[in-house]
Symmetry: C2
Subunit: 233 residues, 2 copies
Amino acid sequence: MDDNLFDTSCESCAFRTHSLFRNLEEHERQEIMLNKITETYKRGSIVYLQGNRMKGFYCVRSGIIKIYQTGFDGKEQIIRFAKVGDIIGYRSVVSNEPACTTTEVIDDAVLCHIPTEILLNLVKNNGNFAVELMKLTCKELGEANSYITDIAQKTVKGRLAEILIHLDDEFGEDVQGILSISLTREELSNIVGTATESIIRLLSEFKSRNYIEINGRKIKILDKPGLKRIANI
Amino acid sequence: MDDNLFDTSCESCAFRTHSLFRNLEEHERQEIMLNKITETYKRGSIVYLQGNRMKGFYCVRSGIIKIYQTGFDGKEQIIRFAKVGDIIGYRSVVSNEPACTTTEVIDDAVLCHIPTEILLNLVKNNGNFAVELMKLTCKELGEANSYITDIAQKTVKGRLAEILIHLDDEFGEDVQGILSISLTREELSNIVGTATESIIRLLSEFKSRNYIEINGRKIKILDKPGLKRIANI
DNA sequence: CGGTACGTTGAGTCATATCAACCATAGTGG
DNA sequence: CCACTATGGTTGATATGACTCAACGTACCG
């Protein structure tokens, strides 16, 4: 039996990679391991829906998740992505509100579900954990604030350039230099906050100016500094 | 001597109004009161600048503060406001990053400065405080996320209508029904994320349709449901 | 083989930005 | 006290970025 494939221990995952879990006491680690539920999700599955009451949060063991809000006319706005090591759903758990986002798997994923009570107990009883979780939340808040400014002030072209840079930084490239995250045109438009057609036109403009190379959903960044110039960063 | 005027005790302020400080131990309260510095700020003063290293956070005793980011071309984007009972600057303290916003007084204010160490100690040592602060941050994060969706999906007209509703809910009205917060057209445009001229035109459109009444900076909402319809809420 | 989801392109329209001129007000310095 | 300047507000004309609508191509899938 392949150890890696069936090893769902947190030791080989979150406890090692995430600063959040580094300072846990032994009994706290035990508690998490005993109470977590690990599940596999196929591309397209919904982990939770906007409006749902959460019974816990999720820790991403592998895969990629998109987190979005649905606007009044049904259009989705992607807020962020989560990948290995990230945690999702904790906001609603902490504030004890219904989920303000929907969470959908875009690359087959394995998630661990950890019950509400454990999270709240950790925040209450482990100061270092509380500080780390606060840091994480504050970082997200800072990013959200910056994105508000971007979306309010930059053109669609600038935002698309910026998003491409972000995706490259966050998810990296494969051996051929192609962005590791693969998104539909519509998904791109739901990040940037524009129409699908606009994304298509801008992508082909970027291509014709040799900023990028495209082949279906495969995008390769050729001129990162050029894109940064367009994005004003 | 008027007790109220010179009473800078937290007992009559944050300890009473803010759930964050409700569950503090007596020695924690003492520590805050002994180490805080209370200062008066005139309209227009800057409390801290984007990029500053923070030595603590501020608790708003009175007045109104605007919190904004400066975009690459110098245009400001107002992220939120703070008023009595709110705390500001804690994000940067917790994440130990330079301030990602500038904070400017728009209604004469009294602020209490509380050093970094005290905040971090409270998070570490008082579980209830940690949970409350997490809740606060998560609430802000949820609001930021919603604002991203709004700004990405709604028209300028819809956003302006929504902002007017928000300002009314958050700051209330005076006896004549006039919004208690008074903003320049430019400030309104820096919330909505648009040009000043657009705000002017839309305000007079709202006026001509009897949604609002305007007299310089004084705005009175006449038809809240109507505005909500425009804002899609 | 037809269906469904995704991608592309073109044409027309509209919301919003930009530019420019002008007015009102208040504060400043000589 | 007045001219001077800065700031905020308003309006009109014009430009344009981005959306919408519509048609069509492409690819995969049962």
